[in-house]
């Protein structure tokens, strides 16, 4: 190994480590109040390819909208990621911005998990679920 390689190897390894820590991808699913529309918006390759929205349900607790999303890990490896619900009113204005935290979730290979949330107030008419790793 010459001097150049001796110097380059730690640099490449450090870059790979830093690159591995900096992955931050977000995928979004939008569902309207009639549970008709599902749009997968994604700027990520990895999560969108590994995760699948198996089912979405919308119901009401009194006049508060409640949402249930079944997320399936379609990959052969365990996935650790974060999800967050966003609530929108009839004009698609977001309600209670930053009202819900990013929540950690682990799904083992080929397993499905269900997540639920209740709207912050009765004006919510649709929701979005965001995922990021």
């Amino acid at each position: 190994m010459n001097t150049y390689h001796k110097k380059a190897l730690p640099l490449v390894l450090s870059a790979m480590l830093l690159g591995g820590c900096a992955v931050n991808e977000t995928a979004t699913v939008a569902v309207d109040g009639n549970n008709k529309q599902q749009i997968l918006e994604s700027n990520s390759g990895f999560l969108a390819a590994s995760l699948e929205i198996a089912d979405t349900k919308v119901g009401y607790a009194g006049d508060l909208m409640k949402a249930q999303v079944t997320i399936k890990n379609g990959s052969r490896s365990d996935l650790n990621f974060h999800y967050k619900f966003k609530w929108l009113d009839k004009d698609d204005f977001e309600i209670a911005i930053d009202g819900r935290p990013w929540t950690p979730l682990s799904i083992t290979a080929y397993e499905s998990k269900t997540v639920q949330a209740i709207a912050p107030n009765p004006t919510a008419k649709s929701f979005r679920i965001l995922v990021q790793d």
Binding site: A61, D63, K84, D98, R100, W102, P104, P120, P122
Partner: protein
């Protein structure tokens, strides 16, 4: 040529010095998952508040009770039974704000009783406020329900791992009948492992 090189080095040093003055400060997402240590953190607080508010607002008897009225609630202190110093009032503040914004509950603020009393005394006794426009004594609404609870933890550790388990319990009690109308629990488990880099 040598002078040119020296000048270039000095200029580079000056540019670097100008860039590196003071600590690097940046704003982050307040709702992002925080895993700095296994201690109680912002993610725990936000997750507890969101989970318990969802649980309370979707409990069928509460849905029925709040369908046509907005019950008045007061928040008692949350007992901190952990070994950490945790501001439990911050958790109940978040719960209270979310419940208030849902439009389903109203609250009496027991943390401001002294200030309210002083203001009422000022209005009635100082002689500076028009008696016709002063707020009358004895007209406040009494709370119908009380929110109270506990935060406890179990901490276990060995040479390489620390495991922390938190349990937050919140209860809604009817003050007139003494009946507990609702109770919610949120459990959190956090594990910290010593890694090669943290040694």
């Amino acid at each position: 040529m040598k002078q040119f090189k020296t000048l270039a080095v000095v200029l580079m040093a000056l540019v670097l010095a100008a860039c590196s003055t003071g600590p690097k400060v940046s704003y982050g997402d307040a709702t992002a998952v925080e895993t700095t240590t296994t201690g109680f953190g912002s993610t725990d607080l936000q997750t507890i508040a969101a989970t318990l508010v969802d649980d309370l607002l979707s409990f069928p008897p509460i849905v029925q009770m709040t369908a046509n009225s907005r019950p008045v609630v007061f928040v008692d202190k949350i007992k901190n039974k952990t070994t950490e110093h945790i501001d439990t009032e911050s958790i109940t503040d978040s719960v209270q704000t979310k419940l208030l914004k849902s439009g389903k509950f109203r609250f009496v603020d027991m943390t401001a009783v002294k200030a309210v009393q002083e203001q009422l005394n000022f209005q009635m006794e100082s002689g500076m406020v028009d008696p016709a426009k002063a707020v009358a004594f004895g007209r406040q609404t009494g709370a119908e329900f009380m929110l109270h609870g506990n935060l406890s933890s179990i901490v276990k550790r060995n040479s390489g791992t620390q495991d922390v388990y938190y349990k937050f319990t919140l209860k809604l009690v009817n003050l007139e009948s003494g009946i507990m109308e609702w109770a919610g629990e949120k459990e959190i488990r956090k594990t910290g492992e010593k890694t090669f880099f943290s040694l």
